[in-house]
C-alpha cells in the first residue's frame, strides 16, 4: 500500500507537467528548473502549536483523528529541463530526482493518552513508514494535427532506494489478572538498486565495498534496472474559449531493485502483577533481540501508476484568465503482485489563473492529489525572457484540516528563453 503511494507521488509530479501542457507555451526555447517540497501532518494545526501557552487537547485530537491515526509525510523533487516549442510540434528533455516519505502511527497510541485503558483490552500500536527515491529522465514531445494537439512523454525512471514498508507493531496487553505483556517487533526491508554488501558496519556507514568495484559494469547494470512508461496527452479547442483534453500514463516496463538489506527487531516484556512483585518473588521478564543486517540479492519490481483522466480549460479573456478543471483516477502498481481494489484512487484539480499587467500572474488551485488535499496560491512573474513561478499552499490528508495549516506545499520554478 505504502509503495503504491510512493509511486503515486511520483506520478502526481508528472501530472503537474501534464496539466502544464494544457496551457499554451510562451517561448520557443525554454531552459528551466522546478523545485517542489511538501510536508504535512494531521495531528494538530501548526499555528495552534505556535502558541505561547500550548494546550494539547488529546481528547479532541483523538476524536478528530481519522482512522489511520497520525500521518507525517514529506517529499521533495528537483527537475531541470530544456524545451523546444513550435507551433506544430515541440520537444523537451527533462531530468530530475525526487524523494518521498511517509510516517504513520496508528490511532491506538493516542487512545492511550486520550481515553486511557482498561484491563483486558489490548492496545495495538502500529507504526508504518516508507521512503522512496527516484531519478527520472523523460523526453516529452508533441505535435499538432490541425487543432488537435498530441503530446507523448516517454519516461525512463530509475528507483534508487526504496523502503516499501517498515511495519512495526507494539501490543500492550494489561490482563484482568494484573499481568501485563508488551510485545514489539519490526522488520525493516530496504531495497537498493544494487546489492551493497557491508554498507553498514558496527553501526556506521562503510564504503569499503566501493574499493575495486567495476564502475562501468555497475553503471550498465544499474541503468538496466530502470523502468519505462509512456505518457499520452491529447487536447482539442472546442471554441476559442474552451479547450478539452485527456491524459493517460501507461506503465510499460517496471523498474527493478536488485539489493535488499534486512533487519529484524523484537522485544518482549512480561510483567507480573504489582501484587506478585510486591509480595512474591516474581520479577519482570525482559527479552530483546536485534538481528544482524542481512544483505541479499533481490528482484523487486516497481511500476508507476496507470493514470487516466479528462481535463478542460476555459479562457474567457484569451490568456488573461484561465479556469481549469481535471478529474481522473489512478491505479497504483497495476502489474504488481499486490494489485487490488485498494490500489484505485481518484484525483481532481480545480484552478484559476490570472495574468495582470502582462508580467504578473496569480493562480489558485484546490486539488486532491497524492491522496493529500492541497490548496495552493501561485505567483507568476514573467519578464519575457525570464519567468519565475512560486506556489505555496496548505495540505493535509483530511479535507477539513486541509484548510488549517497542518501541512504545506511549495514550488519554485525558474525558466528562461525566448
Amino acid at each position: 500500500m505504502t509503495m503504491k503511494r510512493i509511486i503515486f507521488i511520483v506520478l502526481t509530479v508528472l501530472a503537474f507537467s501534464a496539466f502544464a501542457e494544457f496551457r499554451p507555451a510562451k517561448r520557443y526555447v525554454e531552459l528551466g528548473v522546478n523545485v517542489n517540497a511538501n510536508a504535512s501532518e494531521n495531528l494538530i494545526p501548526v499555528l495552534d502549536v505556535l502558541q505561547k501557552d500550548l494546550v494539547l487537547d488529546f481528547s479532541k485530537i483523538y476524536s478528530d483523528m481519522g482512522k489511520n491515526g497520525f500521518v507525517l509525510s514529506a517529499g521533495a523533487s528537483a527537475e531541470a529541463y530544456l524545451d523546444f516549442n513550435f507551433k506544430k510540434f515541440g520537444i523537451g528533455f527533462h531530468g530530475g530526482a525526487e524523494v518521498s516519505s511517509r510516517f504513520n502511527i496508528s490511532k491506538d497510541l493516542f487512545g492511550l493518552v486520550a481515553e486511557g485503558f482498561e484491563a483486558g483490552t489490548p492496545k495495538n500500536i502500529e507504526i508504518n513508514s516508507w521512503v522512496q527515491t527516484f531519478a527520472t529522465f523523460s523526453m516529452p514531445f508533441y505535435f499538432r494535427i490541425k487543432n488537435l494537439k498530441l503530446r507523448f512523454t516517454p519516461t525512463y525512471f530509475l528507483p534508487l532506494v526504496y523502503v516499501p514498508s517498515v511495519p512495526a507493531k507494539i501490543v500492550v496487553d494489561h490482563k484482568e489478572d494484573g499481568t501485563t505483556s508488551i510485545n514489539a517487533n519490526a522488520s525493516v526491508d530496504v531495497y537498493t538498486i544494487n546489492k551493497f554488501d557491508g554498507l553498514v558496519k558496527d553501526g556506521k556507514f562503510s564504503f569499503d565495498f566501493l574499493n575495486g568495484m567495476d564502475y562501468l559494469g555497475l553503471t550498465k547494470n544499474l541503468l538496466a534496472c530502470g523502468g519505462f512508461d509512456l505518457g499520452i496527452g491529447i487536447e482539442y479547442p472546442l471554441s476559442k474559449k474552451l479547450d478539452v483534453g485527456g491524459y493517460a500514463n501507461i506503465p510499460i516496463l517496471p523498474g527493478r531493485m536488485k539489493g535488499k538489506v534486512n533487519m529484524n527487531l523484537e522485544a518482549n516484556v512480561e510483567m507480573p502483577s504489582l501484587l506478585d512483585m510486591a509480595f512474591g518473588s516474581d520479577k519482570i521478564d525482559k527479552s530483546w533481540s536485534m538481528s544482524d543486517l542481512e544483505y541479499t540479492d533481490a528482484s523487486y519490481k516497481v511500476s508507476r501508476p496507470l493514470r487516466c483522466g479528462l481535463e478542460l480549460a476555459y479562457h474567457p479573456w484569451k490568456n488573461w484568465m484561465t479556469l481549469s478543471a481535471a478529474v481522473g483516477f489512478g491505479l497504483r502498481n497495476p502489474y504488481g503482485k499486490d494489485f487490488s481494489k485498494a490500489n484505485f484512487y481518484p484525483e481532481y484539480d480545480l484552478g484559476a489563473e490570472f495574468i495582470i499587467f502582462y508580467f504578473l500572474g496569480l493562480g489558485i488551485h484546490t486539488e486532491y492529489t497524492q491522496q493529500v488535499f492541497a490548496h495552493t496560491f501561485q505567483l507568476i512573474l514573467n519578464a519575457k525572457i525570464i519567468q519565475v513561478d512560486v506556489a505555496v499552499g496548505l495540505a493535509s490528508s483530511d479535507f477539513i484540516k486541509s484548510f488549517k495549516i497542518e501541512g504545506a506545499r511549495a514550488r519554485f520554478g525558474f525558466k528562461m528563453g525566448w
Binding site: P45, L47, V49, L50, Q51, K52, D53, L54, V55, L56, D57, F58, S59, K60, L112, V113, A114, E115, G116, F117, E118, A119, H174, K175, E176, D177, G178, T179, P272, S273, L274, L275, D276, F279, W317, W320, M321, A352, F354, I356, L362, I364, H375, F377, L394, F403, K404, I405
Partner: protein, 985 residues
Amino acid sequence: MRQKIFYTGAFALLVTLLFCACNNFSNLSIPEKVSIKTDAKYGVVLGEKYYSGISDKLGSELTDKLKNASEGIDVYNYIPDGTNDTLQYLMHKKVYEVPLDFGEYLKDVDLDNMLSNSTDGISFSKDVTLPEINETKELSFALSDITGKMKMTQDNPSISIPVVPELGTEKDLTQLFIDNSLSNKVKTEFKYAKLIQFTADSKVKIIVTRTDTNEMSDDFSINLVASIGNQTYRGETVFQEVKVESSNIAKNGGVIELALNDGHDGKLPSGFEVVIGGTYSGGAMPKVHSYKIEIDMSSAKIKAFYKIDKTNGTADTSDDMDISSFNIPINQEISLDSMSNIIKSAIIGNGLLDIKIKKPAGLQGVELELESFSMVGLTGLNIVKTDFSNTPDASYILDKVLKFEDLADGKKTLDFENSADKTITISGNVNINLDDYNDITDTGGATIDLGEDGNNTNLVGNVKVNLATIKSATANLSDLLKFEMGEGKENEKQLPETVIKYVSKIGFGEKKDGKYYKHDENGDLTTSISEGLGIKCKVLNTLPAGNDINIKIKSELFNMDSTDPAKWKDDGGAVIPSGTDSAEPVNWVSYPTIDFSDYADPPYIDLSIKPLNAEQTLKNLELGKTYKFGISNVEFVFDWDSVVMKLNSGAIDPVQGNIDLSDLSLKKITESLGESAKEIFDCVEIPSLPVYFYVQKPDSSSLDEMIGNISLQGKMSFEYKDEGTSKTEYILGNDGYENLEFSNPMQWPKESTEYTNDLSEQDCTMSYDMENVLNGNKEDLMLAYDIKLDDGKDCTIYKAVFDDIKEGETTSIAIDAAIVLPLELKFKEGSTIDILKIAGVDSSEKKDLLSRSSFDSTENYAEYCKSIEYIRLEYNIDNQIFDGSDLSIQLDDTHEGEANKEQYSGIKKTVSFVEDGMIEFEGEEIESILTHFFMPKISIVSGKEGNVKILRSAIAEGSSIGFTPKIVIQLDDKSPICITDILKK
C-alpha cells in the same frame, strides 16, 4: 480592461482573506508552556492475591488439636441445621463407662486384624518347590587322538630320472634307475600298527612330470609300470600286486593311480612299497629327456589299524608320539541352592548315579577303566569309586552304576545350614588301555577300526545323576509361623482399666456330654454350642503323609495352652494335618474360665501362636514336586457365654478425670494472633460454647433388670486461672456427690465424621454454656469430673442378653460429654480494632502513611489534582472462609479532638469488610492529602450484630480467600496538566 482589473483584484482579496481567516497570525509564538488536556481513564489491576491452605488449618489440624484435649475424644463436624453455615465442631468423650458387653472391648483391640495382617500376623502361605535333579553329562573321546599319533612316513616320495635317451630300440626303464643310482621303490610306513587298511576309495597317485624341453621324436614312447607288489605279513601274502601299464602315458607326463584297498581284505603291512618300472623305445639319438615321479598319498584315508604295538616306533620318544595312556575326564556340578531357603539338612533317599560309554563295533583289544571318582558337596555327601558296582553289558565298554538307597546315610547327607556352597561337585577320570602287540607270535594287539568311511572316530557316553526322593529333611518353620503378642512387643495392648475394674470372670459355656453349651438370658442351659476361645482359620499342608505340623497356642491372660490338656479342652490340640491339599477351615479353640480377679492393673493381652517344634522333620519328600502349607483367614474366636460383673459400689473406687479446654479460652485464641492480640481481645468475645452431659444405662430391660437398681453420682467443675488466680466453678456437686439423672440413650457415629442431630433439642442430664468461663482473661481451663456408682451389686450377665440388642443401642452404664464449638467471635457493639496497630505501624513516628515528615514536597503537586476527577481503589473479594457482613473498615483522618487536627487531611471513608467494594478519592481529597499529613486511623468497626464466623465451606478442599484490587484514575479534561511545570519540578 476594468472588468479584468476587478476580477483580478477580487481574486487577490479572496486569497488574502482565506489566509487571514484560517488563523490569527499575529499571536504566533514559540511555546513556553505545554499542557495536556485529557479525560482519559486508566484502570490498572494490581493482581490477584489468594490465601489457601486454610482448609487444613481449620479442618484436620484443628480437629487433631481438639482430639488431643483428652484421651478418647471424638471430634465431629457438627451440622445441626443446614441453614446455619457457621463451621462448628462437636467434641464427644465418654467420661465414665461401665462395660457390660465384654465383646465390645475386644472389638476395639481388633485381634482379628492383628492376627491376619501381613507384617505381624500369622497368616501365611508357603510353596516349597524341591528341584528335580535328573542331570546327564555327555562324555566323549575322539579316537583320532590315538590314530593321529600313528603318523605316516615316506622314503623318497619324489624321484627324478635325469636321463631318458631316445635309443630307437626298446629298453628297460628300470635300468635307468640303476644307472642313475636311484631306487625304483618308494616305501610308505605307519607307526605303531603292524597292519593297516585304507578305505575303499583310497588311492596312491604316481604323478609323472616331464622336466625337459628337448625335441622329442614322434615314435618315442615310454610304458611306465607302477605296482604295489605282493605284500606279505608273517609269510602270508596279505595284498595282491596291483600293476598298471601305461603306454605312452608318461611320454609327456601323466598320472597313474593304484587302488590301496584291493584284494584279500584290503589289509597292507604298515610299511608297503610302490615299485616303478616299464620300458622306453623308439626315437633317435642323441635326443635325451628327463622326468620327475612323485608318489602322492593325499587321497588315501586309513580305515583301520591292526596289531597296534605300543612300543613300536621307540626311535621317536617324544610325548606326542606316546600312545601308552589315554583318559576321559568327568566334571559336573549340580546346584541345590533353591532347596536351602527352608530346608536346613536332608538325607537323600532313592536315586541313581550311572557312568556309561558305548562300545564301537570296530574296536578290539581296547579297555576302559574308571580310574578315579568323587561326588562331594554340602559337607555330608561323600561318594567315591568304590561305591559303584559293575553292571556288565556287552553294548557298553564302560558301565558303572550306584544306587543311593544302598548307601549309608552318612555318605548322602546334605547339610544346607552349614554349607556356604550349595553345590554338588562330581569329578573323575576314565582310563583307556590298548592291548599291546608284542611279537610275531602274538595273536592279540588292539584294533581300531574307524569304519568304512574312516569317520567313526568317537567314543561316546554319559554320566547320569537322578535323585528321586529325600528320605528326611529338617525344616525351620518358626520364621513362617509365628505370632506373639504381649507386654514389650510392638503390638502390645492392654485391657481397658474398666474391664478389670468391673469384670471378674468370663465363661465360655458349660460342658455337657463332651460339648460346651451356652446359657440363655435367664441362666438356663441351652442347646446352643459355644465356639469357645481361640482362633479359626483355614489350613493347607500338601506334604506327604506323616508330616503333620503341630501348632502351639498359648495365653496366660486367657488361660489357654494347646499343649496342656488341662487348659485345652478340645481334643487333639492344634495341628495342620499332612495331605490337606485344599484350604480347610479348622477351629483351634478352648473353653477356659478367664479370671481377672488377681489383676490390680490392666494386664497386657498375651497370645502366642507358633510351631510346637521350631524345627520340623519332613519325611519322604519327592524331588521335583512343590509342597504347599499355610494358614489363612485367621479370626480370633471369643464366643463368651457369661461374665461376672463387680457392680458392688462399695468395692469400686470413683472414676476421676478431666478434659483440657485451655485452647478454647478467648485469651488463648487471641494470643495465637500475635503481639497485637490485646487490640482484638478487648473487642471480641466468645458468643456461646455449650457442653452437654448424657448419663445413660442399657436400653434393654432384661439387661437393666440383671444389673438391678443402680445409680450414678458425681462432681463436675471447671478449673481455671483468672488473672493468675486459680478458681474452681462447680456445675455439679460441690463438697459431696450429687445424683445424676439418666437421660435418653445417645448414639454417636462410629464411621462418619459428621454429627447432624441438634443437641439442644435432645434431653440431656445437664448442660452448661461455657461462655462465661472462656471469655475475659481466664486461661488454663479444665473440665474436671469425679463419678461413682451407687446402689449396685455383683451379678452374672449372660451374653444371650445382648443377642436381642440392636446395633447402636447402649450396652453400658456411661456418661457422655458433648461440647459444641462454633468457630465464631462476637465483636462488641461499636468496638473498633486499629488495623495499623495490629500491623505494627507506629503512629508516634513523625512520618505519615506516605512516609512524609512534612508535606512540602507534595503540596507543589496539589494544583495538578484538579486534573484528576478521582482515584478509586476497587476490589473484588472471593471469600469462602468467613462472614463478617456487619463489619466494615473505616479510614478516619479527621483526628477529632486533637489540637493539631488541622494539619491532617480530614478525610473519612467507610468500606465493606468482606464484600466487593471500592474506596474513592476525588481530586479535592487528593489535593487535601498532598497538602496535609495523611495518617488515618484504619479500623475494623462493628455494627450491632458484629459477629465474625468461619464458614463451613472453609474446610472444603481448595477453599481460599482472595482479593483482586484495581486502581482506577479518571482524569478531568477541564483542567490541563502542565507538563513543562512538572518537568521543572
